[in-house]
């Protein structure tokens, strides 16, 4: 059983001064699955991402990723070991081109050193060519082929979201964390995105964890859903289970509404 888990976070508590942003949350992600983390605003979802990716060190708890402990390792090291993410507020490298953005995330995989770069050794040139080709291919994969030489900040909003995914994929991740990937998308785009998430998992074998507010997307993609409220896990299960869970309905709609909806 243990080997089937790509990520195993146990009893995570994250305390900022007097505020417990995450309170004793245990969370696992099976290999090759698509799971979602949902909850009202301020429930601690993004904080949880930040703990997993090494930006925050939790007050208590442990995280095991791909068989190795994650805590106390710097973010770039965790990223290099196969955990890639996108951001709720897009964080691209604005005045770099789309291709360059993608190539930045290939950093851990490119082997050329400073000397071979200065001397432009054939090996380094071949590696750069290959990296550029991979970037092109990734941009096509996420559906923004041909934008290679455009500056990231000049791309339309939707393309920027896609570019973030392409950049994350360049890390060759085992686990892809998507932080509200469909924020600002219209229903058609969201539907297309749902299909895309499945493609990423099925074609590339990448496990996916997403934070999402659009329930259509969540129900259409996630095989397993975890619900947070005020930093605590209040429910988990399949889409159907979550939909009918009293606690979840209360969290989203308030106590009075619970009876009405059910």
């Amino acid at each position: 059983m243990a080997q089937d888990l790509l990520l195993d976070a146990r009893n995570i508590t994250m305390q900022f001064g007097g505020l417990k942003a995450i309170n004793d949350v245990t969370f696992t992600i099976p290999n090759q699955s698509i799971v979602a983390l949902i909850g009202p605003n301020g429930a601690g979802k993004t904080t949880f991402f930040n703990v997993l990716t090494g930006l925050y060190r939790p007050t208590e708890g442990s995280v095991t990723f791909d068989g190795n402990p994650v805590l106390k390792r710097p973010p770039h090291d965790i990223a290099s070991s196969g955990m890639a993410r996108t951001f709720q507020n897009i964080r691209l490298f604005g005045s770099m081109t789309a291709a360059e953005n993608v190539m930045v995330a290939m950093h851990p995989h490119l082997k050329s050193g400073v000397w071979s770069t200065i001397l432009r050794l054939p090996k380094q040139r071949a590696e750069e060519r290959e990296a550029r080709a991979t970037a092109k291919e990734l941009l096509e994969f996420v559906g923004i082929g041909g934008t290679d030489d455009e500056f990231a900040k000049n791309l339309p909003y939707g393309d920027q979201r896609r570019l973030e995914v392409a950049r994350a994929l360049a890390l060759r991740p085992k686990l892809l964390l998507l932080d509200e990937p469909t924020a600002g998308m219209n229903p058609q785009e969201s539907a297309a995105f749902t299909a895309f998430v499945h493609r990423v998992r099925d074609e590339r074998g990448i496990t996916i964890l997403l934070i999402e507010h659009d329930m259509k997307v969540v129900m259409g993609t996630a095989e397993h859903i975890t619900v947070l409220e005020y930093g605590a896990k209040i429910a988990e299960g399949t889409g159907a289970e979550i939909r009918t869970n009293q606690r979840v309905i209360e969290a989203y709609l308030g106590k009075g509404a619970a009876g009405g909806v059910a």
Partner: protein, 404 residues
């Protein structure tokens, strides 16, 4: 006559190469040809030879040294976006390396010391006298190590905090070297008296070029001009190659968004330390070279204002663009060392007068900086990237306006 023939040959070769092989537009190719020719024959032009002209050889060589400093700082500030206000530290280490290994000074540390490697210094002078070319490498290595040592604790800080701490480090080193004449009884820096005189230097491998002086005296000479221009050219090459490679992308990513860069697998400390170390090498080599042209190493050369002047050169010229920062460094150095005095003379103002331009130096600097920020915030020659981003942005806005 010979000079004109050589000039023409260089112009035709460089301009022709740019136009035919690199497919550059003819006017631009011609401009590159003119600049290359000028750089090549500069020390042989009449006005440069005359010590009282508006651009004498000594100032020309200093301009090249400052260009090297600016190229070094450009890697740190322009490429990696780390605001370093203590660049003087690397200049200082380089210059003292020159002082230690090219004079009789180290006798103060050990009376019996007498090392001589490929140096034209007289056998009668004790102390350590290494070949200038070796000192170069040593100065670069010392500065790079200093860069890593200073960088390791400071580079964890961001933006303004980094600027303040680097400023502090620069000032701290100044005090250490100023008071370094008694480190547990050992005189390491000769304190405020400074180290000197420095050796004349051998021209090393350049010995074999006809017409090249075998021994280069302290001070400026055409041979020294070619050496420093060669080093600058090497550094331009290194800058351009690194910028377009893996490390350059990582630097730019850190400049744009440090947090996102680290989450994309870019090791922040290592990448920043590389920029510091490579920038420091330019500072160290430039420092050692500077010592051989002024002939002494005096701690009062290593004040905060040096860091600011180099930073101004980088900002005025165009952060991130090697040609821009060279232009910025040349302009500032010229104004600083010759320009203002020369203008004063032309205007017939006595140097002691209240209206002497030299006295208004910093006011003018400030004014120019403010004007630049208002009218040309990206510098004389902005980085190609900044220009393109602006252009593309404007066209996107126009398209949006058109659609609406």
């Amino acid at each position: 006559m010979l000079l004109s023939v050589i000039s023409l040959a260089i112009f035709v070769l460089v301009g022709g190469y740019m136009a035919a092989v690199r497919k550059v537009a003819p006017p631009k190719a011609a401009l590159v040809g003119v600049l290359a020719t000028l750089t090549a024959v500069l020390p042989h032009l009449g006005f440069v030879k005359s010590p009282t002209s508006f651009f004498p050889l000594f100032t020309v060589v200093l301009c090249a040294v400052y260009a090297l400093f600016a190229l070094g700082l450009n890697i740190v500030v322009g490429y990696a976006g780390l605001l370093d206000l203590g660049y003087v530290a690397f200049f200082l280490f380089g210059a003292y390396a020159g002082g230690w290994f090219m004079s009789d000074f180290l006798v103060n540390v050990n009376e019996d010391i007498s090392v001589r490697v490929l140096s034209p210094a007289s056998k009668l002078i004790p102390g350590v006298h290494l070949s200038f070319w070796m000192v170069f490498i040593i100065a670069g290595v010392i500065a790079a190590i200093a860069g890593v040592i200073i960088g390791a604790p400071t580079l964890r800080l961001k933006s303004d905090y980094l600027a303040l701490v680097t400023l502090g480090f620069g000032e701290l080193l100044y005090e250490v070297f100023r008071n370094g004449d008694d480190v547990f009884g050992i005189n390491l820096t000769n304190g405020t008296k400074g180290i000197g005189p420095l050796d004349n230097i051998g021209s090393g491998p350049l010995n074999y070029i006809p017409g090249f002086d075998k021994i280069l005296l302290v001070g400026a000479s055409p041979a020294k001009y070619y050496i420093i221009v060669g080093i600058c050219a090497l550094f331009v090459w290194v800058s351009l190659k690194l910028r377009s490679g893996k490390l350059g992308r990582a630097w730019m990513a850190i400049r744009e968004d440090e947090l996102a860069a680290s989450l994309m697998g870019v090791p922040l400390m290592k990448t920043k330390l590389w920029s510091y170390a490579i920038g420091a090498i330019a500072g160290g080599v430039g420092g050692a070279f500077y010592a051989t042209i002024v002939g002494t190493v005096n701690v009062d050369n290593f004040t905060f204002s040096f860091s600011i002047i180099i930073l101004c050169a980088v900002i005025l010229g165009g952060m991130g663009n090697v040609w821009g920062v060279i232009l910025g460094a040349v302009a500032i150095t010229w104004v600083n060392y010759t320009g203002l005095t020369w203008v004063g003379e032309k205007l017939g103002v006595k140097p002691s007068s209240f209206w002497s331009p030299k006295k208004w130096e910093f006011a003018l600097f400030g004014l120019v900086l403010v004007l630049m920020m208002l009218f040309r915030p990206d510098g004389f020659l902005p980085a190609a990237r900044a220009k393109q981003v602006k252009k593309a942005e404007a066209s996107t806005l126009a398209a949006q306006a058109g659609a609406a």
